[in-house]
Structure formats: structure tokens, C-alpha cells
Symmetry: D2
Subunit: 337 residues, 4 copies
């Protein structure tokens, strides 16, 4: 395993920030599904850099080129044919020279040092290599397809910003000013994303290690910068009484069993109970900052400093929304198929 | 998948709260390891109910009977032989009659309703069946063995109580009084467990979906009542600046690359960096409480109430400590082998 | 992996020939299925030793004790509840002393030497340990359950003896005399088992690595003594012309697409085409024979000889029939669920 | 699963005969390995069509374009960096129009009908789609890399033709005339490939379901046209006496334990014993033949006939040799890593 996920589906993510291309393959998507390409591209555009002043300046279309898995119907639409879907995104705008320094000096907060040790010095050090946030592009392609399959099953996923830089999200203006403040200091901020999944039937999920929480969390920690996840009341539940936290079962106007509250986040014993699945994801601040930071030199074996070059988001949380949706879509699809 | 975990090891957990026995099988533990049974039993005793006034009154020895996977050496010690290890714990003290009501009325906060839908009414409704906290006994047997293997690799895991009932843990007396207060009201409280893993080498973990965070979180959500997990600064990192949250790399007195702080919890890009791995786990309050709660009757299709029978902990956090250690040991062992 | 099989189901086999018990766990069998225990025991009796003069004299009931995975209904029948099924068979009749010699001298044709190297001398050397044919007992328990699930899906599996000791099977008398001749010489013979699976729908199987052939063969080589497998015309197909080997598609009296012949064994491109799935399995002669054989002594580092002790079948093929059925049932069930 | 293979490595094969491209991703190849591209291309050329008069006329370079997984060193060589390796081969010479008939009429001996049912009529019917022999190109790219890794571990794999059209292979001239005879009749022939793997250490392989035989056979049946596999004496072992078939252990001149004969094919109990691993693979005759064959029309629901169009090998066995090597390399590498 590693860059492959899923029991029923199998998604494999490949590529490095500055390799020739990045891409993905995705197995076991049902045949006969029409891909809405326009919708997919609109979805991917939410993740793409360079859209406004608050996101990275690296400009790339990041449109996936589909290589396999589809037939084209008489209307020119892509229809899944049952074979593995594959897509690549060529890396057009890669200024490798920006990253030569990283060959010798790992950036604090990044995987550079971990990769250096893991791969014995053979790692692709250019902008994080396979650990780059750029890999969320093919992840979002795979997840964007999963979202379309789920919609046909009546399941919808929506992520929103819950906190930014430590304060409750209230308006885009407020957020923009927090981000701009960080940028002007050469610094960065993090945030919390709340994700709601509607339409998952009671009974979805498997006991012990393959419950909804297990699989969503395994997938979500695949997104760079994620440092925590909680379902329903989450960490707050730890300070509640049982009588407060338990969600009473009642019967709604349609005669369905529902819960009066949703502290469980729609999951009990790892299994969906038919309520909204709700979870929150903590993103750390972007580790690449324009300030000088302490680090070390491999070649000299001594301490030094580094200032991040290249173009970086002072806050990844905005662009992370579709990535959280895409990633949880893969986890849910794997359970509902 | 489901009740099976691991890529290199394979642990399978089986049994229900009131089935004839519960147990586990565990593959790919290296041959030639001497099992310290006394140590294992002492470890398991920390999880066993009935030890003091604050834990469940159900009295069971919960000593595993090992069926396979060992040879006995000349000193009577169990030595792994490379074959899958299996162990069972017979359910001696099962008063099924206590649970007949659950056939028709699901308990709020428990998996009863989810299992009822999932298994079409054929679920083992007695005290949660396969979803019972009792299944943490075989999980702890497997993890207790993993802990002994890890110790031989220089890796040590220690869980401690960080919060109880919403307040920072300060002393056993304080904790006991909080639990006793909840009990006296017929209620329950939750808490937060902090776990530290020392000795994992830099480089452990795989990219994207099989990083240390991904695998620990997948495993830890297998423990009933867990609703959140965070690594290092976790949710707090979301309110820090990049310049605060990044852990600077420095060189220590032995010439090793280390980080000055440990906001990352020892993990960057999913890969261990050689620092302590630190994570916090949120446990909700025990859902079984002595208070009357709203629920519904399957057979009558209408709302009703339920009061938990049987013996229940007003707080599972104390007994959860070895379970957190055991479960994370399985995740780590799977990555380091 | 190793002693665990399946993507949708998960069967784990544990135990050694002379461990306290052998057993299995089996996940993801649908809830609500009534187990016909009498039928299962009759099925297992076909595999059990000691039934007649031609099979091993070791007498054991080999009745599985089910530990979990079932509820008992009002008629005393076992009904699956969705939780992992587990069963153990205690090893009652284990004369370990018979096998002390194997600690030092590996038997030709057995896994003894391979296990000795693999497990660094810590292997359970008693009668093959985890590699013993005795492990086909829990395998048959798991597969016997799979057979009952498949029958409810309209799928039937039947294995028969096709060749015995190199000659086409014609009658039980002929077979008995061949086996008796081998026994009287202190020798053993092998044979070929033909297995037919009826009722698998067209479309079952996955491309490339998880086709019907891939998965049946992976499972079947889990049976000790199997050295070859072929589907349909198999090795004979290699000497046919395309025009002879291709099975023409025609339409039968019910309007269904069928093939005129079945050289494909019911599988094209790894996918079932709706015809009978047919395969043949080659079993080598029992390696344990009463004749003196050359081997080596680990401790003395020199050549020596060994004569098999204990009780052994001069031909395993008769008892192998239910094992082939059970094992292929697990592979097919994993694909059809 | 399906088009993904491996526990330690993960290879995913994607593409259809006439999709934009075919390709593969391959995880967990050790970092720091220099890829010998010239050697790889020479290896792939053995599989490529259009080399001589006896192989398919479709001319394609089939050179893989590596997208990720490598860094380029100062000498321009590709060096693995630990990230997943990916490669694509664009389908340059795809005359889809040749295959329009297959939309309605499945070819005998091909997966067309099975895919039609499996994918509900949405299958890529052009020349077998994902089931095409063309997918052995990316399979050989992945396996070709595995072969280079194995060579560095001292393991060598060599496949040779053992039988062609039902007769023992004796010379290229003899083979060419057999193939030419089949071609001139508009027919095709099959054959048997023998494969030898040298250098696998004793102890490689896992018990029961993940032995060397299990994993090689699972992989090898991923090659189109394979209908049987046998290890060592294989089906012949079924007609031998135990005293003949058992390979005596002896000590060679270097003091190593070896076997006098190799009827086991180097595998006992699924585990390598250090001898050559030897297996034989049966290939059926190419199903595409220039003769008229019976088939059916989906749209008309009645019987019809079909004559294969396009360019086809009258015998795939020659080109299959590197594919057998590549595929078994993936299985072995997955076990030895």
C-alpha cells in the first residue's frame, strides 16, 4: 500500500511536484456512468492555484487528460466502460531551479527531512516531490469522479470553512483580511474545515477497523497539512455527560427512526445511522513561509537557515475544501459500492 | 476487510459480547520471540473490568488461552514459531437475559440501531454483539503481543489520561471524584487520552494513504467511543502561525538532526521524523447510563424509553489506556516490520 | 497476508498440527443465513481421517466448535448475525513424541526444511506444523459455510477423482487396489481431481489479476500437495488449433447465449461466461512414506536417512475432494458477493 | 482489486486496446535503483508486435514514457526516488473502425461476451478493450523494472518455449514452419512456456494462500490465453510414486543443503527451498483466426458468423516469453521485498 487506497475501489496516485506528470488510476467505478466533464472541471477549478490573490501564483490549468476507462458516446460524452479510469496532468510550469537549495536543506514543517531519511538521499527534493500538495490534484480528479457516482446514489458532500487562523469563519472579507495580514508578515495561517455528507444510508460501514470513521480518517490524513479529525461533537464530546451526548432515537413525521441531536456525527459503532455524517478537519498553517527559519545542512552537518522560495499560499484552507470533499468521497464510495 | 487490520501483519478480531468466546488471530509476528506471559497478563489486567469501584462490575479473568502460534521451550516459555498466533477468551459470565429488551429497543449512543439495519434484524443484540467494548479484550491481546515485539525494536508506547470530564487531569483523587459524581447521578463522563510513542525511526510510514497518521487513526477509531484524534498540536495548530507551528530542525549534542519543538507530533508528510510520536484521542462519555432515555421500539414502530441494565463503567477512559497502547502498537508494528 | 484470503470475505486459518487447537475466522458472510450443521458435519466427514482402510488412522472427530458469528434461533439452529464467524477444533489425539526426530531431520517432499530456514529454527516441526494437511480441516469448515451460502445463490460445486496413480479413474475397486498396492510397498500415489462449478453467472470475475482463474488458483495452491491446475482444456489447449479450441457461441432453446463446447472451462478473459466452470488439480503422491529416504541432519550437518513415522494416507486424493470444493467455494464466494 | 496486484509492491495496469493510452503505476520499488533503459527497451522489444513475419503486423514502438518515480542523475540516467513509478504508452496505431462489428458480435475464445454481460453493454468492445493482449505491454514495463530489481538481489528469470502446437520445441525452423502452416490455413496454434527462476533463497513465500505457487499462479493467469500452470513435475507428479517424486535432501560440495532432483519445482509447502523455481504455463491458440466462426448477434438475438479482422499472431507464445518473465518477476518481487 501507500499511495493506493480502497477495498472495493482502488485509487492509485502517482507523480511528484516536478516530475513530467502527475496522475491517478481508479478501478471499479461502475460501467455506464456519464462523466459530466464541465462539472468536474468546475470542481477542480476550486482546488487549482492562481485563482485569486490569496492562493498560490503558480498558474496551471490542471485539467486532467483522461487516458482510459471511458468510451465516447454519440454526443461526445465520456461514459465509463468498466475498465480502470486513468488520468494525467502534465506539469507545465515547473521551475525546478527554485528548489535546488532543498537538496541540502530541509524545510521545517515539510516532509523533506522525513523523505531524505526514508529514501536514503534519493528522494525527489523538488518542492516536496511525491509529498507535495500538488498531488491533491490527481486525488481531486479521482474524488471528483467519486462525487459524481455518489450523487447518482443520492449522496452529497459539502465542505465549508469553520475556522480560519483560530477564529470562527464569519465572512469572506474577514477571512481575506486574516490571510492578507499573515501574508504581509511573510507568515501563514491554518484553519478548520467542516464537512457534511448527506444521504448515506443507515448500515454503511464495517465493524472495528473499517467503519466510516476509520476509513474517512485514513483517507483524510492523506491530505497534506491535516493534523486532526473529529466526528460529530468530537473532542467536545469528551467533556459532555452521557445524558447530554447521547442522541435520543425518535420517529419523524415520515415514520423514520432518526436522532433528535447529532452529536455522533451520524456514526455509531463505526456504522452510519442515516443522519448527516459530520466531521471537522484541522489544517496546520502552510509550512512554507517567507520568514527565515532554522534548519540544517545535510552536506555540512550543521545548523543553517532557510527562507521558502517559490510561490505559496499563506493559507491552504480555501483550496482544501474540494480536496476534503474529494477524499471523503473516495472513502464513502469504497464503503457503499 | 472490517475486523481485520494490517498490510504486513494481519490481525483478525472475532466474537460478540455474549457469544461462546471472543478471540483473535495474528499473522506475521516474527518467529523466535519469547512471549512474556506475566507481562502480558499484567498489561491485560489494566483493561479488565472489575478491578476497582470505578470500573464495570462484570468479573472475568479475561486471560487469553493461546491456541496456536507458539512452541513451548524447555523453560515452559511460549516462543513464536512463525505460524499465526491465535487466542480465545471464553465468555464465562454472560447474563444474556439482562439484554432481552435490546432486541426491540436500541440504546442511544450505541451501535444497536446501526447493526439492526445493517444486518437486517439478525444482529446479535446482546450488549452490542460484535460492537461491544468487550471486543477490546482480544484487540488488547493482539496489541499486547505487538507491544512486546516493538519493545525488542526499541519502541515504547505510553498512554495517559489528559482530560477527564472536560477538565485537565491532575490527580487520581480528582478523577475519582468526577467519576463518582457522574455515577451518583446515574450519568457518565468522557475524556481525552494522550499517547506517546518513543523510538520510531525517521522514515517509518508510507506516503499519502499509509502514513503514520493514516494508519494510527484507522486503527484507533476501531476502539468504541473514540470520536476524534489529533497529532502533535492538532486542532491547536489550526490557530497558529506557520512561524510558530513549524518545528525548526537543529542538531543535538550527539550530532543528530532533531526538532526544537514537536508541534508535528513527530510526523511530517505522514512519515516519522524520529521525534516522539504524540497524539490525543477523544472518548465520548459511556453511552450506557442509569437514566431513562428516549428511544424507539422496532416492533411497535413508536417512541418509548429505555434505562440501561447490566453493569457499566461511568467512565471508560481509565480502562481505555492499555487499549490505546495496544491498538497503536498494531498500527506501528505494521509499518515498521 | 499469508494464511488470510479474500477481498470481500476474509478467511484466516490458524493452528498447527500439534498446537492446542486449529481454527478459522471468516468475515462478511451475510447475516440471516441458517447454517445446516448436519450438512456441514457430513461434508467435513468426507475430509476427516480414519473413515476407512485407505485413509490415515489418526482418529479425530474434527467437529468444529463455533465460537462466534451466530445467534441461536428458537429451533436451536445457528443463524449468522453478520459478525465474523469463528470456529476451533481442539487437537485431541496428538502424539508429539512421534515427531521428535523431525526437529533435526527434514522429511523429503514436506515443508519441514523450508519452514526451518524461513523461521530460523523456531518452526513448529511437529508433523509439518502450520503446513500440515491437518490445516485443511479449518479450511474446510470455512469453505463448507461458503458452499452453503453459494447454494442459496444457485451455485453448486462438485469435485470428483479424475485420475489416480496415473490412470483414469474407473471404479472404486480399481482405485482401492491401486492404493492398497502402494501401501503394501510402503509407498504412495497421487492423482488428479476434476472440479465443476455450476450456476456462476456470466460476468463474475475481475480483469487481469482477479479473474476466476487467478483467484481459484491462488486459493487451490493453498491445499498441500497441489502441484498444478488447468481450466477447461488446459494443457491440452496448447496442442489444439484455434478453430478447434474456440467455443462457438450459439443460442439455446431458451434463447440464452451459450457455447457449443466448453474448452474454456467457462472462463474467458478471467470472467465467467455462464457455462460450467471446470478445472483439474494435480496432487502429488503423499510425501510421507514408509520407505527409507535420504535426508540430512541439521545438527550434524551431514546426510542421513529417515522413515516416516505416524499414520499417513498412501493417497490423499479421496479426502482432498471436499477440500477442493471448500477452497474453490471461498474463491468463488469472494467474487460473487 | 482487479487490475492491481501485490501486497508489498502495488502494480496497477490501466488502458484499453484503443483508448488514448495504456499504462501502469508501480509502488514501493526501492529508492536509489538505476534503471537501465536500454536493457528495458530491449526486453520490451521481445514482446512488441511487428518484429518478424510470425507476429502481429500492428507496428508500434511501445516505448513507455515515464511520468514519475525517477530523478535524472548527472549522467542522464533514471534513478528511482521512492515515489510511485508511472509510465504510459500512447496508442498511436489504432484503427478502431476495424472493430465496429464487435459491438454486436462477440468473438469466440475472447472476453467480448463476458465483458458485454459484466459491464451491461457499456464495455469497450474495440479489440477486447481492457482484456486485450495489448495490456501485456504495461504489464511488461512494470515487470521489466521488477526484473532489474531482482537481478540486483541475485535473482534471474528465464522463460523458454517448451512445446509449440503440441510438439516439443526443437528448433526455430520447426516452430516457424508450424506457425506458418497454421497461418496459411487461417488458423492458430498454442504452446507451453517453461520458466525458471534462479537465486530465490530458501524461506521465500508465505503459508497457505501466499506461497510462491499461489502468487505466481495468481499473477500468471493475468496473461491472456493462459489456461494452465504446473510447478516442478506438476501433472506428471500425479502419476508418480512418493518414492520417485520426493526430492531427497543431500549436502553439496559447498556444504549446502540441496535436493538431488527437483520434482517440487523448488517449492515445498508454498515456500522456496533454494532450488530453481520451475513452472510450465499452457497457452491456448490465439482465438482470433481468419476462419469463419459461429457466434451470435446481440441486437438480433440470433446466431451468425464472424471472421476476425485486423492483424493477429497465429501464435502468441514467442511474444509471451518476456510477459511470463515480467509477470512472475512481479510475483516474486512482492514476496522477496
Amino acid at each position: 500500500m501507500a499511495s493506493t487506497f480502497g477495498n472495493k475501489i482502488k485509487v492509485s496516485i502517482f507523480g511528484q511536484s516536478h516530475s513530467k506528470a502527475i496522475g491517478m488510476s481508479l478501478e471499479n467505478i461502475p460501467a455506464g456512468m456519464v462523466l459530466d466533464e464541465e462539472k468536474l472541471n468546475a470542481f477542480l477549478a476550486r482546488r487549482a492555484p492562481g485563482r485569486d490573490e490569496n492562493t498560490s501564483k503558480r498558474v496551471e490549468s490542471d485539467r486532467p487528460e483522461f487516458l482510459s476507462g471511458f468510451m465516447t458516446d454519440e454526443n461526445g460524452r465520456l461514459v465509463t466502460c468498466g475498465a480502470p479510469i486513468s488520468a494525467v496532468i502534465y506539469n507545465e510550469d515547473a521551475r525546478s531551479a527554485d528548489y535546488e537549495e532543498l537538496k541540502d536543506i530541509p524545510r521545517p514543517g515539510h516532509a523533506d527531512f522525513a523523505a531524505h531519511i526514508k529514501y536514503g538521499g534519493f528522494e525527489d527534493y523538488r518542492s516536496g516531490g511525491h509529498f507535495s500538495g500538488r498531488l491533491t490534484a490527481p486525488l481531486s480528479v479521482a474524488g471528483g469522479i467519486a462525487i459524481q457516482v455518489l450523487e447518482q446514489l443520492g449522496i452529497k458532500i459539502e465542505a465549508e470553512i469553520d475556522e480560519i487562523g483560530g477564529v470562527k469563519y464569519e465572512s469572506k472579507e474577514q477571512m481575506d483580511s486574516l490571510i492578507e495580514a499573515a501574508r504581509s508578515e511573510g507568515d501563514s495561517i491554518g484553519g478548520v474545515v467542516k464537512c457534511t455528507i448527506k444521504g448515506v444510508h443507515a448500515g454503511v460501514g464495517e465493524p472495528i477497523f473499517d467503519g466510516v470513521e476509520n476509513r474517512i480518517s485514513q483517507a483524510i490524513f492523506g491530505i497534506p497539512a491535516v493534523k486532526g479529525i473529529e466526528f460529530g461533537a468530537g473532542f467536545k464530546a469528551a467533556s459532555m455527560k452521557g445524558s447530554e451526548n447521547n442522541d435520543p432515537f425518535v420517529i419523524d413525521e415520515n415514520g423514520n427512526v432518526v436522532t433528535e441531536s447529532n452529536n455522533s456525527g451520524g456514526i455509531l459503532g463505526g456504522i452510519a445511522i442515516g443522519s448527516d455524517i459530520v466531521f471537522r478537519v484541522a489544517f496546520k498553517p502552510t509550512p512554507s513561509i517567507a520568514k527565515e527559519q532554522k534548519s540544517i545542512s545535510y552536506s555540512e552537518g550543521k545548523e543553517t537557515t532557510i527562507i521558502a522560495k517559490g510561490r505559496h499560499d499563506p493559507c491552504v484552507v480555501i483550496r482544501a475544501l474540494p480536496v476534503v470533499e474529494a477524499t471523503s468521497a473516495l472513502a464513502i464510495l469504497d464503503l457503499v459500492l
